[in-house]
């Protein structure tokens, strides 16, 4: 403790006292040492102010790295959007050419069948009267953002399971085609969750979730309400999830963005 005690009682550099006594004896600094002292003092001031300046500024590397990642992200998103648009164009072109080729070959009936199948599988866009179901997360209670992982917050959030049940209910009610937030569902579509996000065919979707179903609106509505999905929607309302079901005179469902590959079964060779 003596070290700390000494620090408390004699905080001044002992050198000052020594120098003072030396000065009292008539000892003076030479010109050279005065110049060196001045230079060193300049150095001291410079280093101190540079250090302070540097510490007050945010680390430029971090800012730069962040900006770089941001730029790359924007670029990638633009790239994805561009590719998706060009995919859509190409797909439409392929359908057109296919239609032409089939018609040209004299198979009008065949072309119609291909178009019909394309609408059925979700490859081609369809339009017509239908039903719209909107699911939205429970409103955040007044007084700020609660913990996102708290039980009420989790219960009030729409999950992949909810969407699956509503979609299956719509299929059961006789929907001819379904899209979630403009993402067309096919027989191979998956509605899954990754963390807090819901993925429809691996594309993340954000609330509100608009499920558009093609079909006779009144019939869809009645059958949906009668089925298990109707009761499930009531349960969701109890958790604070808002749902709206509204008939539409016209719903536009785009073609699915997924790749269509022809899967066909082959008989297993009989072993003699």
């Amino acid at each position: 403790m003596s070290l700390l005690a000494r620090l408390m009682t004699h905080p001044l550099e002992p050198g000052y006292a020594t120098a003072a006594s030396r000065r009292a004896h008539g000892h003076r600094l030479g010109a050279t040492s005065r110049a060196v002292t001045a230079l060193a003092a300049v150095l001291c001031g410079l280093s101190a102010v540079v250090a302070v300046n540097h510490l007050r500024r945010p680390a430029p590397e971090a800012v730069q790295a962040r900006r770089l990642v941001e730029a790359e992200l924007t670029e990638r998103i633009a790239h994805v959007e561009g590719t998706r648009t060009s995919n859509d164009t190409t797909r439409r072109r392929i359908a057109e050419l296919q239609d032409q080729a089939l018609t040209g070959a004299g198979g009008r009936a065949l072309a119609d069948e291909v178009a019909g199948l394309g609408r059925l599988t979700g490859e081609l866009a369809v339009t017509g009267p239908g039903l719209q179901v909107v699911l939205e997360d429970a409103p955040v209670p007044a007084g700020g953002q609660p913990d996102a992982d708290s039980v009420p917050a989790r219960r009030g959030r729409v999950t992949d399971r909810d969407l699956q049940l509503v979609v299956n209910g719509l299929w059961a009610a006789g929907a001819e085609a379904i899209a979630i937030n403009g993402s067309r569902l096919t027989s191979l579509s998956a509605i899954r969750s990754a963390g807090q996000a819901i993925l429809v065919d691996l594309q993340p979707q954000l609330p509100p979730y608009e499920i558009a179903a093609l079909g006779e609106p009144d019939r869809l509505r009645t059958h949906l309400a009668e089925g298990i999905a109707g009761r499930y929607l009531d349960l969701l309302t109890a958790d604070g999830i808002r749902s709206r079901i509204s008939p539409r005179a016209r719903v536009d469902l785009p073609g699915s963005a997924s790749t269509f590959r022809l899967h066909h079964a082959r008989p297993v060779r009989e072993v003699p």
Binding site: P11, S33, A40, A41, L46, A48, V50, A51, N53
Partner: protein, 110 residues
């Protein structure tokens, strides 16, 4: 007083030039600033005591910074960097406090 003059010139030069600090130096900056603060307060007290000396001031200033940085470096090498830095800050902090108290007594006689 030549040391004070030099210090002021250095501060102004630093503000005007704004040189960049190499990356390897950055861990030592905070502790160096505390050491510099200690030296400045010590010098101020010496002025009020009437025993200020240019050479002692500059030497204490430089040695403070260098020793503090060395201790942090040594601590980093031994894996006790933050603890040693804390020690340096505690010692310098006590000195800063005591010198500030002495300066206050000088100025306000209280």
């Amino acid at each position: 007083m030549i040391a004070v003059l030099g210090l002021v010139i250095g501060v102004i030069a630093g503000l005007v030039i704004e040189p960049t600090v190499p990356g390897w130096m950055q861990p030592y900056l905070p502790i160096a600033v505390v050491a510099a603060l200690d030296a400045v307060l010590g010098g101020l007290r010496a002025v009020l005591d009437g025993i200020f000396d240019d050479r002692v001031f500059v030497v204490s200033f430089l040695s403070n910074i260098v020793v503090a940085a060395l201790m942090v470096y040594l601590g980093d090498q031994l894996g006790v960097g933050s603890q040693l830095a804390t020690g340096v800050v505690v010692v310098l902090g006590i000195r800063i406090f005591s010198n500030a108290a002495a300066i206050r007594r000088h100025l306000f006689k209280a």
